[in-house]
C-alpha cells in the first residue's frame, strides 16, 4: 500500500518512532529495589540506583529474558554476543552521570511489525532497526508556576529496565502511526513484557518526522523529491497525542517549506516538544555539546552470550502474539475475522475469558455475540479489567444454555445477565426469583388457541400471507404469561393457523 501525495496534501509524511517500554520486572535492572509505580519519592533506592560512590550494577536475569522475548516477538535477530555501554551526560535525574545502555552491539536488530488498517488489509509493514536494553532515569519535578524554585528529584524510577525500540522511517501517516503503536502495545502486553501503561510512563514515544515533497517543474512525477529537515517530537503522553502531534507537525513543516524551502542537510535535526493543551509543537533549545555522549564499554558489567538453544527456549515460552492469535481464534471457533480482531485487541485475559465461555457453550459464534454485545459493552460501561468482571464465563454459559434450550429468549437472557451482574447472585436464583419457569408445550398450545380464537383478524391476515401480523399476538401472550418464549410461541401460532 502506498500513500501518494494528493492535491489536498501534496507531500508524503515520513515517520519513524522510538519507543521506550518499561519491562515488567519486580526489581530494577541492576539492583534489588522495587519497580512498583507510585511509591513515595526516594523510598525505592539503594547505593546502586543512587549512583553512590563504590556501588556496582549486577544485571537482572528476568529483565534480559523479557527483552529477548520482546525482540523475538518483533521478529528481530538476537545477537549471539552483546555488551553494555555507558552513555555519558549530566542531568540530575541520572545520578551516575551516565546511563547504562547499549551502543554498537545491541542484543537484537532487524525486526518488523505489521499494522492492519480498519478494513483488515495490510496498512504498513514497519521495519525495526534495533531493540536494546537500558536503564531508566529518575524523575525531575518542576513547579513551573514557582518560576525560580528548585527542581525536585525522585530516583525511584532510576534503574528501571527499559527496552528501546527504534523503527525505520516506514510509517506514512499519523493515523497509521497511532494504529501501529496500538499494535505494539497489544503485542508487548500479550507477552507479559510490559504493562504499557502510558499514564504511569511505562511506555513512552518519540517520533521523527519530515516530509517528502515532489517538486513540480523539475521533471514532474519523476522529478526530484524535496525532503524537509527531520524533527524529533518529544513529550507525547498518549497515542492520541502522538497522532495529533504528527498531524500538527506535518502541517507545520508544509507551511515552513512553502515559506523557506529549507531542506534536510541545510539544517541540523531539531527537537520539538508537544504541548498537548495548546495543540502545538515547540522548538526545544538545541544543546550542541550535549549530543557527545562519549559511549564506551561499561567496565562494571560482563558481556552476555545467547545460544540458539536459549533462543529456542525463549520462543517456546513466549505464547502466541496477537497476529497469530487472531487467525487461530477465527479458525478454531469459526468466528468472523472482525470478531477475532475485537476480542484479541482487548488483551490476553479477555481472550482467555472468551475461550472459556466458548468451550462451555460449545459454539464460537454465539459465545462471540454474547462477548461483543453483553460482556464487552457492560465492561466498557463499568470500567475495570475482565479479571474483575463479576459475571464469570460459567454464568454466561448457563444463560446461553437456557436460551438455546428454549427456556426463554435472548432478550430475556439479557435481562437475566443484567440482574446477575447487578445482584451478584447465581443464574438459577435470578431465573427463579424473576418467576421465569419454562412454559410447558401443553400450556403454550392452549394459550395459542385461546388468543387465536380472540383475534380472528390477525388469523385472517396471516392466512392472507402477512405472517408479520402474528407479532401482534406475542405481546398479548407475554401479558398473560411473561415466561412465554416469543420465538417458540410465534412459530406455534403460525403452525396452528396453517393447520386451520
Amino acid at each position: 500500500m502506498t500513500t501518494q501525495p494528493t492535491a489536498a496534501e501534496p507531500f508524503t509524511t515520513i515517520i519513524g518512532l522510538e519507543v521506550h517500554v518499561q519491562l515488567q520486572t519486580k526489581t530494577k535492572l541492576f539492583c534489588g529495589c522495587s519497580t512498583t509505580f507510585g511509591a513515595a519519592p526516594n523510598t525505592q533506592v539503594c547505593p546502586t540506583c543512587l549512583g553512590l560512590p563504590g556501588s556496582l550494577p549486577v544485571m537482572n536475569r528476568h529483565a534480559f529474558d523479557l527483552a529477548v522475548r520482546a525482540a523475538l516477538a518483533l521478529d528481530c535477530t538476537i545477537a549471539p554476543f552483546t555488551k553494555w555501554d555507558r552513555k555519558n551526560y549530566f542531568y540530575p535525574d541520572l545520578p551516575k552521570g551516565y546511563q547504562i545502555s547499549q551502543y554498537d552491539l545491541p542484543f537484537s536488530s532487524d525486526g518488523r511489525l505489521e499494522v492492519i488498517d480498519p478494513k483488515g488489509a495490510l496498512w504498513r509493514d514497519v521495519r525495526i532497526i534495533r531493540v536494546h536494553l537500558e536503564e531508566d532515569a529518575g524523575k525531575s519535578m518542576h513547579d513551573e508556576a514557582a518560576g525560580t524554585a528548585d527542581t525536585r528529584i525522585d530516583l525511584n524510577r532510576a534503574g528501571t529496565p527499559l527496552c528501546e525500540i527504534v523503527t525505520q522511517p516506514d510509517l506514512r501517516s499519523p493515523q497509521e502511526s497511532r494504529a501501529w503503536l496500538n499494535e505494539l502495545k497489544l503485542l508487548l502486553a500479550y507477552l507479559g513484557v510490559s504493562d504499557c501503561n502510558m499514564q504511569e510512563g511505562s511506555l513512552r514515544v518519540d517520533a521523527n518526522v519530515n516530509l517528502h515533497i515532489p517538486l513540480a517543474g523539475e521533471g514532474g512525477a519523476d522529478g526530484r523529491l524535496a525532503k524537509t529537515p527531520i524533527v524529533e517530537i518529544k513529550n507525547m503522553n498518549s497515542f492520541r497525542s502522538v497522532e495529533r502531534a504528527l498531524v500538527y507537525e506535518a502541517a507545520r513543516q508544509w507551511e515552513e517549506w512553502q515559506a523557506t524551502k529549507a531542506e534536510m542537510g541545510n539544517t541540523p535535526k531539531q527537537t520539538r516538544g508537544w504541548d498537548d493543551a495548546a495543540g502545538v509543537t515547540r522548538a526545544q533549545r538545541h544543546k550542541e555539546e550535549s549530543s557527545d555522549y562519549r559511549y564506551f564499554p561499561e567496565p562494571d558489567l560482563v558481556p552476555v552470550t545467547v545460544s540458539e538453544a536459549d533462543i529456542a527456549k525463549a520462543r517456546a515460552a513466549m505464547g502466541d502474539p496477537p497476529t497469530v492469535l487472531r487467525k487461530a481464534l477465527a479458525e478454531k471457533w469459526r468466528i468472523p475475522a472482525y470478531d477475532a480482531d475485537v476480542l484479541v485487541n482487548q488483551g490476553r485475559d479477555l481472550v482467555d475469558y472468551f475461550e472459556d465461555l466458548a468451550t462451555r457453550v460449545g459454539e464460537g459464534k454465539v459465545a462471540s455475540n454474547w462477548m461483543q454485545q453483553d460482556v464487552l459493552r457492560t465492561l466498557n460501561e463499568r470500567g475495570g479489567t475482565i479479571g474483575e468482571f463479576p459475571v464469570r464465563p460459567e454464568a454466561v454459559a448457563d444463560i446461553i444454555g437456557r436460551v438455546t434450550k428454549g427456556d426463554f429468549d435472548t432478550s430475556r437472557g439479557r435481562e437475566i445477565f443484567a440482574e446477575v451482574l447487578a445482584s451478584g447472585r447465581p443464574v438459577a436464583d435470578v431465573v427463579a426469583s424473576m418467576g421465569i419457569a419454562a412454559v410447558s408445550d401443553d400450556d403454550l398450545v392452549s394459550l395459542c388457541k385461546e388468543l387465536l380464537a380472540a383475534n380472528p383478524k390477525i388469523v385472517a391476515d396471516v392466512q392472507g400471507g402477512k405472517e408479520q401480523a402474528a407479532a401482534g399476538l406475542i405481546g398479548q401472550a407475554r401479558k398473560k404469561n411473561p415466561n412465554v418464549n416469543p420465538g417458540k410461541f410465534r412459530q406455534m401460532c403460525l403452525d396452528l393457523i396453517r393447520g386451520m
Binding site: 547505593p47 543512587l50 549512583g51 553512590l52 560512590p53 563504590g54 556501588s55 556496582l56 550494577p57 549486577v58 544485571m59 555507558r86 555519558n88 549530566f90 540530575p92 545520578p95 551516575k96 552521570g97 551516565y98 527542581t151 528529584i153 530516583l155 533549545r285 544543546k287 557527545d292 562519549r294 559511549y295 564506551f296 567496565p299 562494571d300 558489567l301 560482563v302
Partner: protein, 516 residues
C-alpha cells in the same frame, strides 16, 4: 609483650591465646597513632571509640568461650577509598569532605566479620590518582623513613601507617601500582591480586577495569592471612571471580626449587636508579640461591604501558567521576558567588570578583553553573587533568585514535604476559625506577610523576597479580622494592615466593627510626 612490632600472624595468635587482650593492642596502636599521625599524616580519620568498643567486644567473646574471627583483634587501617558506614569516606577529596556512605564496602564487611579492628581511614592521592600522595586535599603523607620524602601513592597513607607501626595491616587499592609502589617506597609488602579476586563493591571507582583491592603488610605471610578474609566471590560485583579461595597461609612453605623467574632486560634501561638496580639484582641472586632459576623474557609492548594506561584509566575515570556533580551528595558550590573560583589563590580570587557583575553569563543555566563550579571547586588539579584527558579521548572524533587504540595495545600487552608465562612462572624486577623521592620534586611535572608507574601498570592492564616487597636499602637508608608479577590467580605462588625470600632475608623486618 610489644604488640606494635609483631606480625599479624603472631599478634592474632597472641590475642587468641590470651597473652594480650584486643583492647590492650588497640590502645597501643591508637596511642602510637596519636603520637605519630601529626607528622606523618597517614590517617584522615581515626575512630578511637569504635575501635576500643570493638576490641572490648572481641575480648568479651573470647573470655566467654564464644567463637572469634580469624583476624580477631588485629588493628587494620583502611584506605579512604573504601566505603565505611560508620566513618567518613572522602577519597582525600574536598568533593567528598565529610561524606558518609550508607553502606560498607564488601571488603570492610569481611574484615568486620573476621573481627579485625578498623582503627581509621588512611590518606591517599585524591581519588587514587597519583604516585606520591601529594594529591591529597588534606595534605601529603610523609615517608616514615624520611619525612622530607614522599611515601609513594596512591595508597601512601596505608603504606606509611604499616611502615610506622600505626597499624599491623592496611588495605590499599591498586589501579596502576597504587599498592605496590608505595609499599616499595615504604619498605613493606603489598599485593595487587588478580583482577576480580577481591570484590570491588564499595571501593570508590577510579578506573573500573583496572582497580583492585589488596593487603599492605609487613610480610607475605601477613598478606596471605589477610587475603583469606578479603578474597572471594561477591554476587554484588559482576566482575568478581567465582573461583574458590585457596588457603594461602598453608601454601607458603614449599621450597622454591625449580621456580622459573623471568627477568626483563628493558627494565634495567635508562631511568632506573643504580642503587635500585643493585638491590634488584641482589634479590635475583637471593632467589637463585633459594633454588629458583632466572631467565630472560621479553615483554615487547611494556614500553607502551604508560601511554596505554594514561588513556584507559582517565577515560574510565572521566565517567566514574561524573557522579560528583553536587546534585545528590558531595560538594556543591554556593549559588551566585561568582564562578571559576579556586579558593585560596589570590590572583584568581580577584578574577572572581571582577566577574561578579554577570555571574551566570557563561553558563547556559543555573544547573550547568552549579555543576561546573561544584566540580571546579571540589576536585584538585590532577583529578581535573585526568577528567579532561579522559573526556577528550572519548569525545567524538578522538575515540578511535585514543581510547580504541589504547584498548588494542592493551591486548598486545596482555598477550606479552601470556607468552612470557609460557616459559617462566613469575616475572621479577624493580617496582619503581627510584627510591622515595623528595616531596615537591615532581608536583609541577605531571609527566615525570606518571613515569613512576612504568613497571607497575602492565599488571593492571593485563589483569594479573603482582606483589612488591623490600629487597634492600640505599646508602641513604631508603627502602628498595622488588616486584614479582604472576599469571592470573597465581597469588599462592607470589605469596610463597616472597615468604621464602623473607625467610632468608630480614629487609622486611627493618623499621624506620621514629620516636618510641
Amino acid at each position: 609483650m610489644q604488640p606494635l612490632e609483631l606480625s599479624a600472624v603472631d599478634l592474632v595468635a597472641a590475642i587468641r591465646q590470651g597473652d594480650i587482650t584486643a583492647v590492650q593492642v588497640a590502645e597501643k596502636f591508637l596511642d602510637r597513632i596519636d603520637k605519630l599521625n601529626g607528622p606523618i599524616n597517614a590517617f584522615l580519620n581515626v575512630d578511637r571509640d569504635r575501635a576500643l568498643a570493638r576490641a572490648a567486644d572481641i575480648d568479651a567473646r573470647r573470655k566467654a568461650g564464644k567463637p572469634i574471627g580469624p583476624l580477631a583483634g588485629l588493628p587494620v587501617a583502611v584506605k579512604d577509598a573504601l566505603c565505611t558506614a560508620d566513618q567518613p569516606t572522602t577519597c582525600a577529596s574536598k568533593m567528598l569532605a565529610g561524606f558518609r556512605p550508607p553502606y560498607d564496602a564488601e571488603v570492610v564487611s569481611r574484615l568486620r566479620q573476621a573481627d579485625a579492628v578498623i582503627v581509621g581511614k588512611t590518606n591517599m592521592d585524591e581519588f587514587a590518582m597519583g604516585g606520591s600522595n601529594e594529591n591529597s586535599a588534606f595534605g601529603p603523607v610523609k615517608n616514615p623513613w624520611d619525612f622530607t620524602r614522599a611515601p609513594g601513592g596512591s595508597s601512601g597513607g596505608s603504606a606509611a601507617c604499616v611502615a610506622a607501626d600505626m597499624a599491623t595491616i592496611a588495605i590499599g587499592s591498586d589501579t596502576g601500582g597504587s599498592i605496590r609502589q608505595p609499599a616499595g617506597l615504604c619498605g613493606i609488602t603489598g599485593l595487587k591480586p588478580t583482577y576480580g579476586r577481591v570484590s570491588r563493591r564499595g571501593l570508590v571507582a577510579f578506573a573500573s577495569s583496572l582497580d583492585q583491592i589488596g593487603p599492605m603488610t609487613r610480610s607475605a605471610a601477613d598478606s596471605a592471612l589477610v587475603m583469606e578474609t578479603i578474597a572471594g566471590h561477591d554476587r554484588g560485583d559482576a566482575t568478581s571471580l567465582a573461583d574458590a579461595v585457596p588457603r594461602y597461609t598453608s601454601m607458603l612453605e614449599q621450597p622454591l626449587t625449580g621456580l622459573r623467574i623471568g627477568r626483563v632486560a628493558e627494565h634495567f634501561g635508562a631511568g632506573l636508579d643504580p642503587e635500585v638496580a643493585r638491590g634488584v639484582e641482589e634479590a635475583f641472586a637471593a632467589f637463585k640461591a633459594a633454588g629458583a632459576t632466572i631467565h630472560d623474557v621479553k615483554l615487547p609492548h611494556a614500553k607502551y604501558g604508560i601511554a596505554t594506561y594514561y588513556l584507559v584509566a582517565p577515560c574510565e575515570a572521566s565517567s566514574n567521576l561524573a557522579r560528583y556533580d553536587g546534585a545528590h551528595y558531595g560538594h556543591r558550590a554556593e549559588p551566585g558567588k561568582g564562578h571559576r573560583a579556586e579558593p585560596g589563590k589570590g590572583h584568581r580570587a580577584e578574577t572572581t570578583r571582577g566577574q561578579r557583575a554577570e555571574p551566570t553569563s557563561e553558563f547556559e543555566s543555573p544547573l550547568v553553573e552549579m555543576y561546573c563550579r561544584s566540580r571546579a571547586e571540589g576536585f584538585g588539579p590532577e583529578v581535573k587533568r585526568r577528567i579532561m584527558l579522559g573526556t577528550y579521548a572519548l569525545s567524538s572524533g578522538y575515540y578511535d585514535a585514543y581510547y580504541a587504540k589504547a584498548l588494542r595495545v592493551r591486548r598486545l600487552i596482555r598477550q606479552d604476559y601470556i607468552d612470557a608465562f609460557q616459559s617462566v612462572d613469575l616475572i621479577g624486577g624493580p617496582v619503581s625506577p627510584t627510591p622515595a623521592f623528595p616531596l615537591g620534586e615532581k608536583t609541577n611535572d605531571p609527566l615525570a610523576m606518571y613515569l613512576v608507574d612504568m613497571y607497575t601498570v602492565g599488571t593492571n592492564l593485563a589483569g594479573i597479580g603482582g606483589i612488591s616487597f623490600p629487597c634492600g636499602f640505599t646508602r641513604g637508608g631508603l627502602p628498595i622494592g622488588f616486584q614479582l608479577q604472576g599469571p592470573a590467580l597465581s597469588e599462592p605462588l607470589l605469596l610463597r615466593a616472597v615468604d621464602r625470600y623473607q625467610q632468608l632475608t630480614d629487609w622486611h623486618l627493618r623499621r624506620p627510626k621514629l620516636p618510641a
